[in-house]
């Protein structure tokens, strides 16, 4: 339960930090921000890997895991690449 309080504290602080940081992002970069945070939300890939790699579970679990890994990887790879493409355009000048 003490851990729960700490996790809660971490959550609250992350929210505060999120607000401070995101409000500083200029409108020019709002589209890359959207695709970039979209890629970050692909952190669920971590959970997907655990599911796809679990031994001794019913096959269904591994199949679901495979689907999850595929979708999450698309999200992550696609998100970072497309964000990078956009941002590189901003950098040229």
């Amino acid at each position: 339960m003490e851990i729960l309080i700490l996790l809660l504290a971490l959550f609250v602080l992350s929210l505060f930090l999120g607000v401070e940081l995101i409000t500083k992002v200029p409108p020019t970069l709002h589209t890359p921000l959207m695709s970039g945070t979209n890629a970050v939300s692909g952190i669920t890939l971590v959970g997907a890997l655990l599911a796809a790699g679990s031994d001794g579970s019913p096959m269904l679990v591994n199949v679901l895991g495979f689907i999850a890994v595929t979708l999450a990887t698309i999200n992550v790879v696609g998100g970072y690449l497309v964000t990078n493409r956009m941002l590189a355009m901003f950098k040229r000048k």
């Binding site: 970039g36 970050v40 692909g42 952190i43 031994d55 690449l81």
Partner: protein, 481 residues
């Protein structure tokens, strides 16, 4: 691997995500920020892989390879004008991943899985304490249920948003009863979550949650108009962040909490920015149709006999003698893919010593920052892109404003017509300039479905035609002058 090291690396990954977003606060550091964020993701993935004790990596490898290839192709092939669709699609995949992960977790703990469709309507006899005893077990089950729910809604909702933006789906369908119908659907889905928590072996409950949530995603988003999709996407993105943070609580994982909260706040803040820029409440975007006030205003009455049209060549003559020109792009520039042509026109004007700036409305186009990305693609320096609050006071000293494919964001009714559905939305006051040139294909309205008195003003010239073609003709004429 030592779990402390794993946790420590997860924390580092979380810090890299923070640094990544910090980088996005300035165009100069943005690319590096994105890379730091990607590095954080890589770290988290690698340490997870090293930590898995499995004999069979085939599913993982297959998933990563397929996902990596599909993701790269999508990212490298997509046109900049289709960015809103791309984000919607990726978001949907993220939702799908959450959904399947939660399901996999569910069956892993159950230890058994249905062998045939018949099994789905039975209740598996399982040890209900498998998920943990007492409060802990309940929390774990609730988290699984909610993740399935949010993931499924995000999946289908984003796919609908994608179809609307890609113009695959044009009509709007909704549940009869609108918000109330949706509310009942949601309540039913939550009831199924409760059943599942009480009796985890109850497969029927789980199947019901999935089915209802998938349908709910469809019904929630289908009635919403295409131009409101960015708001929906930002909101769904925020949900997926919150879902990740929730999962972080269950697993006691720092990086999930940090990443999830960042994504969650980002989505909410973008949603809010868009709503403020449109002067509408979030509830109005999600459930309301645009107010019916539009019908009262008769387009013919506004336009009849007052609209002056011109050829690109005539506009070029006007530009020749101008000192300062402001270009105001909108959704039509994206549709016409005219960003490069616009840049060339600006170059031609600058070569003649004309001062050129771009006036960027916060919700011009179909997602926040949409115009900026397109113009950046055309290599317009971002210093020339001027935000609404800074460009508005300069219109009075501007000789010509070229409005290309923008409509609602220049509509003076937002300033003046109190009953109008867009009344109160801050706009670009292009009508204050000495001359206004509007490039669009017809007099048909923009997203808000309203006529635009700007088009009928004395100092406004309409240039009818596809945005790209018209701009190219202007440039040619100007260069020959």
């Amino acid at each position: 691997m030592n779990p402390n090291i794993v946790n420590f690396v997860y924390l580092i990954a979380g810090i890299l995500f923070i640094l990544g977003i910090k980088g996005l606060t300035k165009p100069k550091t943005a690319v590096r920020g994105n890379m730091l964020s990607a590095l954080g993701m890589l770290l988290a993935v690698v340490v997870t892989l090293l930590n898995i004790n499995t004999v069979d990596y085939s599913y993982i490898v297959a998933g990563v390879v397929v996902g990596g290839i599909v993701g790269s192709i999508m990212a490298l092939r997509i046109q900049m004008t289709s960015m809103p669709q791309m984000v919607a699609l990726l978001n949907g995949f993220g939702g799908g991943a959450s959904l399947t992960i939660a399901l996999a977790e569910y069956f892993t703990v159950l230890g058994v899985a249905p062998q045939s469709f018949a099994d789905l309507v039975t209740s598996l006899a399982v040890d209900s304490s498998a998920f943990g005893v007492g409060v802990e077990g309940t929390i774990a089950l609730v988290a699984i249920g909610l993740t399935v729910l949010i993931g499924a809604v995000t999946l289908t909702g984003s796919l609908v948003a994608f179809s609307k933006l890609q113009e695959l789906m044009k009509k709007s369908y909704g549940l009869p009863g609108g918000p109330i119908g949706n509310g009942l659907f949601l309540v039913a889905a939550l009831a199924a979550v409760v059943c599942m928590v009480i009796n985890p072996g109850n497969l029927v409950a789980m199947v019901t949650i999935v089915a209802l949530a998938l349908l709910l995603g469809l019904f929630l988003v289908m009635p919403i108009g295409g131009a409101d999709m960015p708001v929906v996407i930002a909101l769904l993105n925020s949900y997926s962040g919150i879902a990740a943070a929730l999962a972080g609580f269950v697993l006691g994982n720092t990086v999930l909490i940090i990443a999830g909260s960042l994504v969650g706040t980002s989505g909410l803040i973008l949603t809010q920015i868009m709503c403020v820029a449109m002067n509408r409440s979030l509830a109005n975007v999600l459930f309301g149709k645009m107010a019916a006030g539009g019908e009262k205003i008769d387009a013919d009455e506004i336009y009849a006999g007052k609209v002056t049209s011109a050829q690109p060549e005539e506009v070029a003559m006007m530009l020749e003698v101008a000192k300062r020109v402001v270009i105001v792009p909108g959704y039509g520039m994206a549709m016409a893919q005219a960003q490069h042509a616009v840049r060339e026109l600006a170059d031609a004007m600058e070569a003649r010593g004309i001062e050129v700036e771009y006036g960027i409305h916060p919700v011009a186009g179909r997602m926040p920052g949409h115009m900026n990305v397109l113009l950046a693609e055309a290599e317009v320096p971002y210093d020339n892109l001027v935000e609404m609050d800074r460009i508005n006071p300069t219109f009075e000293d501007t000789d010509v404003v070229i409005v290309i494919g923008a409509n609602d964001v220049t509509n003076p009714m937002a300033r003046e017509a109190e009953g109008s559905p867009i009344y109160g939305m801050p706009i670009l006051n292009v009508d204050k300039a000495k001359n206004v040139v509007v490039i669009k294909r017809s007099l048909s309205p923009g997203f808000a479905g309203l006529p635009n008195p700007l088009f009928a003003m004395d100092h406004t010239l309409m240039v009818y035609g596809d945005g790209k073609k018209a701009v190219v003709e202007m440039t040619t004429a100007l260069n020959q002058a």
